[in-house]
């Protein structure tokens, strides 16, 4: 999945029709540089993506009909990830983490937004 996301990011930056100084395919790309990839839809799922300036990537797979979820992902990062994970003194940046508070807050947030139904997978990959 990481390879897919990373390549899609580079792909979008190179294909950008509005950027006069877009990077050549294959050159290393800094975080946040170039046109950003937001989501892709297939015939039975939609993958929403957000990359924050620290490099953390949030991937949310939803139903195909889901609307633009970039605000949802941003508030997910701001209100839940930062609150319960980054501010946790035992969290090692870049390592996998398990935090009940995070899971609970996450479930509550998604339920509140009407997003939690049968098949929802949320992964935060550093």
């Amino acid at each position: 999945m990481f390879g897919l996301i990373w390549t899609l990011g580079n792909f979008c930056a190179t294909l950008d029709p509005k950027d006069p100084s877009k990077p050549q395919l294959g050159t290393p790309r800094k975080i946040g540089q170039g046109c950003k990839f937001r989501s892709y839809t297939t015939n039975n799922y939609k993958c929403n993506f957000l990359e924050v300036p620290s490099g953390i990537k949030l991937v949310l797979n939803t139903h195909r009909e889901a609307p633009d979820l970039s605000d949802v992902l941003q508030s997910l990062y701001d209100d839940i990830f930062v609150e319960y994970v980054v501010k946790n003194p035992t969290y090692n940046p870049g390592q996998p983490f398990t935090s009940e508070q995070f899971m609970n807050a996450l479930n509550a947030f998604l339920r509140q937004n009407g997003l939690l139904q049968q098949q929802q997978i949320m992964q935060a990959a550093a």
Binding site: L25, C35, R38, Y40
Partner: protein
């Protein structure tokens, strides 16, 4: 409200047709070849990554400044259209491009399948179709 470019990819992932409709969308020839192969692989990986069974690959890619629509035929040929995020009725447009492809490319007796498309009639008709679409959109 514009269409930036059209790419056609054969079933092995090679680029067989590339057309840019605006100057801004121009991508280096080498890059466009690589982009096509990369897209082919990404399409397959997204299919594998599907959380529910029965996925047939990426149909729409949304980015900040453009949307990329992909139409895959039953034979594995992919038609990619890079458009403005506000463009509408693109799946229908892709369907029309596919019809033009089957008329002017497939029925051309000198065209070998999976090779680069060099059919004038196809070029002209695609140009006309896009122009008509853009006029209607205005």
């Amino acid at each position: 409200m514009s269409v930036y470019s059209l790419y056609v990819i054969n079933k092995s992932g090679g680029l067989i047709y590339n057309r840019d409709f605006t100057e801004a969308a121009r991508v280096d020839t080498n890059d466009s070849l690589r982009l096509a192969s990369i897209w082919h692989s990404l399409h397959a990986i997204a299919q594998q990554l599907s959380p529910v069974p029965g996925c047939t690959g990426i149909e729409l890619l949304e980015a900040d400044t453009f949307n990329l629509h992909c139409f895959q035929t039953l034979t594995g040929t992919k038609f990619l259209l890079v458009v403005d995020p506000h463009a509408s009725f693109i799946p229908a447009l892709l369907q029309r491009v596919y019809e033009l492809y089957s008329d002017y490319v497939m029925k051309n007796p000198f065209y070998e399948t999976e090779q680069v498309i060099k059919c004038e009639l196809f070029d002209e008709n695609v140009e006309q179709l896009i122009r008509r679409y853009l006029q209607q959109a205005m």
